[in-house]
């Protein structure tokens, strides 16, 4: 999978606080918070990244096993995608 994934900036407004990210869904007023590992993925997704790059981000930042990192990335992007927070 080499497609670039990117946050849907039309739906979300966000800011970083320390090592966390706080975001608000502009249409529903739902708010989200991502911890430090989520924030690392969030930052990459804000710029645009492939799944492989996201996995590499987690491995580099937290020293995770590749399988664990891939699983975490899949869960994260699945959750974002389910709510329409990733660009189609």
């Amino acid at each position: 999978m080499t497609d670039t994934l990117r946050l849907n900036a039309a739906r979300l407004r966000w800011t970083a606080i320390d090592d966390e990210v706080v975001a608000v869904d502009k249409t529903s007023s739902v708010y989200l918070a991502a911890n430090s590992s989520g924030a690392a993925l969030w930052d990459a997704l804000a710029r645009g990244a492939t799944r492989g790059e996201l996995v590499a981000t987690l491995i580099a930042a937290y020293g995770l096993e590749p399988e664990r990192a891939a699983s975490d990335v899949d869960a994260f992007i699945s959750e974002l995608g389910r709510h329409g927070y990733l660009e189609a």
Binding site: W14, V24, A33
Partner: protein, 347 residues
């Protein structure tokens, strides 16, 4: 004001934050998020409860533009946003200036409230608390963490006449802080006077956050214009007292008499003691208001001190008075906490 003056002002704010006895004192002053930023810059840990408040402040700030858009879509006529985000944008980091609601001034608050309810906003808060005051019941949008308060006039000290919505609309400028088309802001001179009057109507020279807000806004205004406007709006004395406090705290001027007496807690960035609060409530009206309303307000304060609260027995009143004397040198919030302890009230 030059960039160097602005830096100097915020350096003075940092110095006050550094000098505060504790986070709790800074929370009382409304500077706890500024303090958190400062602590982080210094490599120190930020308490977990303050981190939670940072997140909440961020959520509210992020959600403000959408809420204002909904309001703008629903309400006809001029809408002027005051305080909150309009002040926060002037902080080095806007997220360090928390707010819980958006205060908007409109010419017909009843019609605006009705339009907002028709658009899906829901009134919240106990209705009796909002009768006969400067704004209507707060409005909430579907779980949004910010409320909207629709004002027909700004909060103003008792005994003084607040400028009308029409006068304020004349001072409106295109919006800069929250980029929502059709929502205006006050020019800095008018905004500074409004902030000072609002702070004075609540607690004169009590909280540093009020003075930081005023300092952040007034640095964009012409000092003579602000004084002239304060004169025109009948609050020249309170503006003069506020301006002197701001200059003493953030611009290196010598402390005024108020700052050396009933507002001396400000320079130490600590909460007022019970005694200081009593002195402030009696002295401030004489300082900031014209002679007649000032004397009336001071007399009302003294009478209020001597009276029982509604439904309170004389025994309980005596107990409160004794506690106030015993705790005269303690922070007011600690005194209040002591009185609120179960079994302490001999009602």
């Amino acid at each position: 004001m030059t960039g160097s003056d602005r830096r100097s002002m915020w350096q003075a704010v940092d110095a006050l934050v550094d000098a505060a006895p504790s986070f709790e004192h800074l929370r009382w002053h409304g500077l706890h998020l500024l303090a958190a930023r400062r602590r982080r810059e210094q490599g120190a840990a930020v308490p977990q409860n303050i981190r939670v408040e940072q997140r909440l402040a961020a959520v509210r700030a992020l959600g403000a533009p959408e809420l204002l858009r909904r309001l703008r879509d629903a309400v006809d006529g001029p809408v002027i946003l005051v305080k909150g985000p309009e002040v926060a944008v002037r902080y080095p980091d806007p997220l360090t200036r928390p707010y819980r609601d958006l205060d908007v001034l409109v010419s017909d608050s009843v019609a605006a409230q009705k339009a907002l309810r028709a658009a899906g906003f829901r009134e919240v808060g106990e209705p009796s608390m909002y009768r006969g005051i400067h704004h209507l019941r707060p409005l909430q949008w579907d779980g949004h963490p910010l409320w909207i308060e629709v004002h027909h006039q700004p909060k103003w000290p008792d005994g003084l006449s607040a400028p009308t919505a029409a006068e304020l609309t004349d001072r409106a400028v295109c919006h800069a802080a929250v980029d929502v088309g059709g929502v205006a802001a006050l020019d800095p001179a008018a905004h500074a006077v409004l902030l000072a009057a609002h702070a004075w109507a609540h607690t004169p020279l009590a909280r540093l956050s009020h003075l930081v807000d005023i300092a952040a806004v007034v640095q964009e205004a012409d000092a003579a214009e602000v004084r002239g406007l304060a004169e025109r709006w009948g609050c020249a004395r309170l503006w003069r007292t506020t301006e002197r406090a701001v200059d003493a705290l953030f611009n290196g001027s010598a402390p005024s008499l108020a700052m050396r007496t009933w507002a001396r807690h400000l320079a130490a960035a600590r909460e007022r003691t019970v005694f200081e609060r009593h002195v402030q409530e009696s002295a401030a009206p004489l300082w900031g208001l014209p002679p007649v309303p000032g004397a009336n307000a001071a007399a009302a304060t003294l009478l209020g001190t001597a009276r029982r609260n509604r439904g309170e027995s004389w025994k309980s009143k005596l107990h409160r008075s004794q506690a106030a004397l015993r705790n005269a040198a303690r922070a007011k919030s600690l005194h209040d906490a002591e009185l609120a302890e179960p079994g302490r009230d001999p009602r």
